[in-house]
Amino acid sequence: MIHSVIAAATEWVSPQVDYHALAPEIILATGLCVVLLADLFLDESRKWIISSLTGFTLLGAMLPVLTLGLSESSVRSMFDGRYVVDEFSVVMKAMFLIAGYVVVLLSTKHVEEDEYWQGEYWFLLLSSILGMVMMTSSRDLVSIFVALEFLSIPAYMLAAWRKRDIKSNEAGMKYFLLGVFASAVMLYGMSLLFGAANSTLLVDLGKSITATGGLSALHALGIVFVIVGFAFKVSAVPFHSWAPDTYEGAPSPITAFLSVASKAAGFVALVTLLFVAFPQASGVWQPFMWVLSVLTMTVGNVVALRQTNIVRMMAYSSISQGGFVLMPLAVAGMSEVSASALRSVVVYMLVYAATNLGMFAVIIAVSRKTRSGEISSWGGLFSYAPGLATLATIFLASLAGIPPLGGWIGKFTAFQSLLSSGSGWGYALALIGAVNSVVAFGYYGTIMREMWMKPVPDGDTTRVVVPGSLALALGITCVATLVFGVLPGVATHFGDIARITGAFGG
């Protein structure tokens, strides 16, 4: 047996590896080893070095992403097209790295002041980000699955970070069980697809759909299962039930991370699959996306209206925002719409990431003083912390999609892409989206009202101390939110991706 392995090994030819293209992943992988080792050798008083190391790793990984973005050859395909670095993946990689960096800034003080060891925290965080970065380039069912697990498993553990807190345990457990369940469903779907196409390469999947002269039942079933799996990941209704509990129980910076980066990673995979593997099967997934989108934004919104805990409200808000991201996908199968649908998803995610992280930064800062998650504890914030209240107002208004703050351009591009389809379904969905964006103000407005118009609940108006790292995070996200809103050309410039490499027909 050993003999046959050696024989196979001699036949094995090393594949072409483009180290420039893989540099971000390599830096991240090296960084997470360093972080893990450093934790062993640093004594308690110098643990803060680890968080800085994590931050530097992420910034270091940004460098090759920048050079990749600027380099001439825009598409670098490796391993027979299973791992591709193109415009889409570079933009998304940059987003994950910057979002990760902001999460590090959010975590620094939070973890330091907590009662738990902090070493693994940073290691797990980096692992998860590495998984996301890999997801952007995966163009094969296997690598998508590996990336997905790579980003999910550390996230399960991070959600259960505060191990002596029952809520945190619940958060991690729910997230884990439902996540694994979703993975299983997805894997089953993938196996069906593999059976139908005899290949795991996404491009081959697409070809097999046309080659067999139409869509087979096996394809359709496989596609539905895979989409359901990712619907869990992006917490689309009715697969959202884990999100509010997980968000509430997890440490706040991790909640921010889950609601932004983890969700975006799910969308990245979903978009890659729809555009590269199943463009010919739009008859299957378009109606599915339509229903999913309507349910997600409507249910997310309506339930959010009833929340009294700010993190739970933000959880439902992020569910409903996911519905808006899904909107253009309901018409993305039409060849003349697909490009604008892709752009809209990317633009929406960029803006949403900046805004939502910013809002969580404010929540973390405020809860340092109020020690409460109730919305009523935000009463009169404007009277004693006008800066934070103004920032929160900016982020909330952006989430609600009010110009001239970032959120509107995301919603706008989504509407634009829906209406460009010219189909009745597109128009109907746009109208539902429009109504929903008004309803959403109901709960974003609740927080604003609390901050601006209500009295301070306990009369305690001590200043809110914002640590430097948190201030930096607030600064980054606020500037991004404003710039995206006033000069939307910046967001649309990065979102102007003609197509995902390997997409069918290209």
Binding site: T393, I402, P404, G422, Y427, A430, R449, H493
Partner: protein
């Protein structure tokens, strides 16, 4: 279309100067209220100075032509650009928004409503000013939309933070109504964009190509815009946010709301909906006219039933905006010019009435009509200013209100070709009845509030603890009000000052209807 591009920096400076003031305000410490007031005052004076300079530079002989046109790339991906310009329709409103903001700032120097915090108050006011001015110069639908929405949040906070007892309910209602309208408006804008070939959001481009759309497509797109603009005007039956918002808003908020914000809606009809979609406008006109006269009568009856002075003035806005919309719905240059005049006149007069209401409230701590009385005896200046404004508001010839109302009614006698004359003549008669009711409720208000003897509870000079409870009009109020009073009189005596600016521009707007 011919355009003048000289001095095109002027509009941008005039629009964004208030934001510069906001930035300055941000660095001034909250405690230094004197400096905050100075910065706000100086900013709004500088803004008006730019506005005056714009008036000087404006080529009145070419009022129908877009002037000071500037076009810069903004969002290339969605083919929207920073495209601005000013013509005879925009000019009065653009300048009015600057002047009103300055007057409101002057008034606020002495009247910061509770709970104080002039820094935030003035910042919001200046942001509001940028949004208002920007809406009137935008020549691109997306730019228009962004400015149109920019006014929402500041007004929401102004009502919600500095407003009356029921302020939270009123501010949320205001916000949700307006946002609902603008969401549908945005969908309509996008539909228009794609139906005209997805080439551009520029209004001139759309005016050129919108007319070629099939009639039923136009009607649907118009429906979306109609809801967006009609909520803002507000037209019956979308008006229910207005009485609440006005009643609860602080004086400054009410003045800005009445004088400028309501005009964003009517301006939208004149600038966008009607010229871009002429066929739909014809189809919709009888319904718009119908809702307008319902608004006139409903608003007037509402006024007669009010017990609160401010709420009464708010309902009178519904009636007055009904006259404006009636003028617009005739689709004639006569009616539309009257409507534009009516917009400015209503801005001046109702703004003035809200100022007076605010000062009455400050002195008597109530606006309950039944508790007021004898203002003319206690404060003759304030009483006479109230009387003057009421006369102007009911459309007394010789004052500005007349020239908005009377021609608007007259224009309904012969609406544009293709519209049913009988229907519009019926509207004319109903609207004329509305003026009688207007005289009734305004004179009755004046009589109850200003005539007679002061009520016993106030006869002694008001609440002892408040020193200037019954001081007549003070110098801040004189400074803020005199320009409005003069303007009401001047435009009443020489209406041609404004008609000659408006008319050529209205002709251009309606050029799609000839032939």
């Amino acid at each position: 279309m011919e355009m003048l591009r000289d001095h095109n920096w002027m509009l941008s400076v005039g629009t964004f100067l208030p934001l510069l003031g906001v930035l300055l305000l941000l660095v001034v410490p909250k405690a230094n209220e004197q400096l905050i007031k100075k910065v706000a005052l100086f900013t709004s004076i500088a803004t008006v100075a730019v506005g005056v300079w714009t008036l000087f530079r404006f080529d009145f002989g070419n009022a129908g032509t877009m002037q000071f046109v500037d076009e810069k790339t903004w969002i290339p991906l969605i083919k929207s650009s920073y495209y601005i310009g000013l013509d005879g329709i925009s000019l009065p409103l653009y300048f009015l928004s600057m002047v009103i903001t300055l007057l409101v700032v002057i008034y606020s120097l002495d009247h910061i409503p509770s709970p104080g915090n002039p820094k935030a108050f003035f910042s919001l006011m200046l942001v509001l000013q940028t949004g208002m001015a920007g809406t009137f110069i935008a020549q691109d639908l997306i730019l228009f939309f962004v400015f149109f929405e920019l006014v929402l949040l500041p007004m929401y906070f102004m009502i919600g933070v500095w407003g009356g007892e029921n302020r939270q309910y009123a501010s949320l209602k205001f916000f949700l109504y307006t946002m609902f309208g603008s969401a549908l408006m945005l969908v309509a804008f996008l539909a228009l964009f794609f139906k005209t070939g997805a080439e551009s959001f520029a209004i001139p481009y759309l005016v050129e190509h919108g007319g070629a759309l099939a009639k039923n497509v136009q009607i649907w797109i118009f429906a979306g815009m109609f809801i967006g603009f009609a909520v803002k005007v507000p037209m019956f039956p979308f008006h229910t946010w207005l009485p609440d918002a006005h009643t609860q808003a602080p004086t400054q908020g009410s003045v800005i709301l009445a004088a400028i914000l309501l005009k964003l809606g009517t301006y939208g009809f004149v600038r966008i909906a009607i010229p871009v979609l002429p066929e739909a406008a014809k189809a919709w006109a009888p319904y718009i006219g119908g809702l307008a006269v319902i608004g006139i009568i409903y608003g007037a009856l509402g006024c007669l039933a009010q017990t609160d002075m401010k709420r009464l003035i708010a309902f009178s806005s519904v009636a007055h905006m009904g006259f404006v919309m009636l003028g617009i719905s005739t689709l004639t240059s006569f009616g539309m010019t009257a409507a534009m005049f009516g917009m400015v006149a209503h801005g001046l007069i109702t703004g003035m009435l809200f100022f007076v209401a605010g000062s009455v409230k400050e002195r008597y701590h109530t606006l309950e009509i039944a508790r007021l009385g004898g203002i003319l005896k206690q404060m003759p200046h304030l009483g006479w200013i109230l009387g003057f404004s009421c006369m102007a508001s009911l459309g007394l010839p010789g004052l500005a209100g007349f020239w908005g109302e009377f021609p608007a009614i007259l224009s309904a006698y012969s609406p544009a070709a293709g519209l049913n004359e009988t229907v519009f003549r019926v509207y004319m008669v109903i609207a004329a009845l509305g003026t009688v009711l207007a005289a009734a409720y305004l004179l009755w208000l004046f009589q109850r509030v200003a005539f007679g003897e002061p009520k016993p509870e106030f006869a002694g000079g008001g609440h002892g603890h408040d020193d200037h409870a019954f001081h007549d009009v003070n110098k801040f109020e004189w400074f803020a009000w005199t320009p409005l009073l003069i303007a009401i009189l001047v435009f009443g005596v020489v209406p041609n000052l404004m008609f000659k600016v408006l008319d050529p521009a209205v002709q251009v707007v309606l050029s799609g209807f000839k032939g």
